[in-house]
Amino acid sequence: MSAPGSNGGEEEAPRFKVHLAVYDLSQGMARQLGPTLLGMEIEAIYHTGIVVYGKEHFFGGGIVSVPHEEFLASYHMQPFQTLELGETEVGEELFNEFLQEVSPRFTAETYGE
């Protein structure tokens, strides 16, 4: 989960590790109460962020990209799971373009009327 930078750098196409940070917004409550309240096992109330290029990209009323460490510090959350999703050849700039492209769909404003 820590700063997944480029690795395998000798090739011309650098690859970047992509992690999925999985948080439990219920802080364990869902797991505890799920069986009683819902009659089912609930592992967690998931929040996820994509960690790539050393930054955490997530959606919270808008798309946010912050350095992963900063995210952990400012939100006081620790992922209860960090899944390694794979390695990508997509560079940061291209990914930023992607974010730009999807952001209209993922902004608080689209929630309005």
Binding site: L25, L38, V64
Partner: protein
């Protein structure tokens, strides 16, 4: 449209975004859990009123636009593979539980009309078989006239394709931000270009409030709790699965304890019966298997665990809308339990089988009993002298509950009973005895006493409906009773102030006052 408020991508520091995390399906699910906990715990600091702002702050369409969908889409872009499906499936998973299915309408309804509602109890005025015997088999015919679009995803498929272009049938689709949730709901379109949801008028009261007709005359239908077909199907399916699971679990325990001789909770024919029910539950004209009501009575009794009660009641609630379904034995059992549950107010729910095991069971039971009033067959059963007395006493006792959900439902039940009595009289059944019956007195006193202390306007309005109906029928004598007990002062005050419930309550109070003073 593009993030222009600093909340967008790369927001400086990102600190303020924390609160915006609310706009995440995750938190709203958490909220749903909270609602339930609140209702269960009498000591909870949360009330419906304090939680409503939360509901309103939730954006619509959360199923499709949440943090996990974003992560999924980003992962697809980067790697061509999505995130683990169980994360994406969480909302559906939660809503496939009986509680989830029950919680959906509250969120939806609150979003729609600001009217505090009770989880799972989507009240509609409904013309069932109430008009006479002719309506006999058509109990379900009108169920979804005013209902919102199907609320439950009709299938269990995990959302494979992220952000599909086709709108998902999605529980959150009707949700709107607080600003739009004004008292009058007409139609509204939610969000994104691809999804246009027209929200039907939720409440008849609001719908016709423009007319000059007196309030009482406008409300000539019982208050019923009706599920849209998809939700109904889902609830029934889940409940039946749960009952089967409980039965299997009990058998396993018995085997462990070396009690193989014990009969199973569910015999194979019972299972067949339950499965047959799933098939016909959406076909109002197909009769339910006759043995079903006795089976469901059994699941309410030992040796079935208390857990089965909530599930059984969830199933009874919609089934009671069918004229042929409610049986005297079932009604007697429910009324006896209700009586026991309300006899000792504010006591913790007892685990004994003579009472309901939880407050939510009380709420659903009251809601189910209200549904019995949908048709003449049910009314006749409930109005049977021994039952109506127990029912009225228990419901009046429940009006003293400190949970608005219980009060709302109890008041609805009373209003329906009063309507049933009025209709029974119109039908010329049984010559009226002279003087006011104990039930009428109990209804008038029970609903008007402490009316001002009830801060829940839905409950207040339903209480007034009950009182108004009884007073209208009781004529001079009922009016005299109201005045002699000083309730005219209560009515005057409510008529003046009305509370935040507004016009509807005020008008009705004045109307009753007018009748009383005549």
């Amino acid at each position: 449209m593009v993030s222009d408020s600093g909340k967008g991508r790369g927001a400086k520091g990102g600190r303020e975004v924390l609160i915006d995390g609310d706009k995440c399906v995750c938190l709203s699910l958490l909220f749903a859990l909270f609602v339930y906990v609140c209702i269960r715990k009498p000591t909870s600091p949360f009330t419906h009123d304090t939680l409503l702002p939360f509901i309103h702050s939730l954006p619509p369409d959360l199923m499709r636009w949440n943090c996990n969908n974003f992560s999924n889409e980003a992962a697809l872009f980067l790697l061509g593979v999505g995130i683990p499906p169980h994360i994406l499936a969480l909302p559906e998973q939660v809503f496939s539980s009986p509680l989830g299915a029950l919680l959906r309408p509250v969120i939806e309804q609150s979003q729609g009309s600001m009217r505090p509602a009770v989880p799972g109890f989507h009240f509609e005025s409904y013309e069932g078989g109430g008009g006479g015997g002719a309506g006999g088999g058509a109990g379900g015919g009108h169920h979804h006239i005013n209902n919102p679009p199907p609320l439950v995803p009709p299938h269990h498929m995990p959302p494979q394709a992220p952000l599909p272009a086709v709108p998902l049938s999605n529980p959150w689709a009707n949700m709107r931000p607080a600003a739009a949730a004004a008292a009058t709901t007409t139609t509204t379109t939610t969000t994104s270009s691809s999804t246009t949801v027209v929200q039907p008028t939720r409440s008849k009261q609001q719908h016709i409030s423009a007319s000059i007709e007196p309030v009482l005359a406008r409300h000539d239908k019982p208050l019923l709790s009706i599920d849209p077909p998809a939700a109904l199907k889902q609830t029934v399916g889940t409940v039946i699965t749960k009952l089967k699971t409980l039965s299997t679990a009990a058998a396993a325990t018995a085997a462990e304890e070396g009690k193989e001789g014990e009969p199973p909770l569910l015999f194979s024919e019972d299972i067949a019966l339950l499965e047959a029910t799933v098939a016909v539950v959406l076909q109002p004209l197909t009769p339910l298997p006759p043995a079903l009501s006795s089976l469901l009575l059994r699941t309410l009794l030992p040796p079935w665990p208390a857990k089965a009660e909530f599930f059984t009641l969830s199933l009874l609630r919609p089934l009671f809308l069918r004229p042929a379904f409610p049986t005297p034995a079932l009604l007697d059992h429910l009324l006896a339990k209700l009586s026991a549950a309300t006899a000792t107010p504010s006591s913790l729910p007892s685990s004994s089988s003579s009472s309901f095991s939880s407050p939510s069971s009380v709420v659903i039971a009251l809601s189910g009993l209200s549904n019995v009033c949908a048709h003449k067959a049910g009314c006749t059963l409930l109005l049977y002298p021994s039952r109506i007395t127990v029912a009225t006493d228990a419901a009046v006792a429940a009006l003293r509950d400190d949970r608005p959900a219980v009060r709302q439902m109890a008041a609805a039940f009373l209003a329906n009973l009063a309507l049933g009595m009025q209709r029974g009289k119109e039908g010329g059944e049984g010559g009226r005895e002279e003087g006011l019956s104990d039930v009428v007195v109990q209804m008038v006193c029970g609903t008007l006493e402490g009316l001002r202390e009830d801060k829940d306007m839905t409950s207040v309005f339903r209480r007034l409906l009950c009182a108004g109906r009884v007073v209208r029928e009781g004529g001079r004598e009922a009016g005299g009773l109201v005045i002699s007990l000083g309730f005219d002062e209560v009515l005057r005050e409510v008529g003046r102030e009305g509370g935040q419930g507004g016009k509807q309550v005020q008008e009705l109070a004045r109307e009753i006052l007018g009748m009383v003073e005549e």
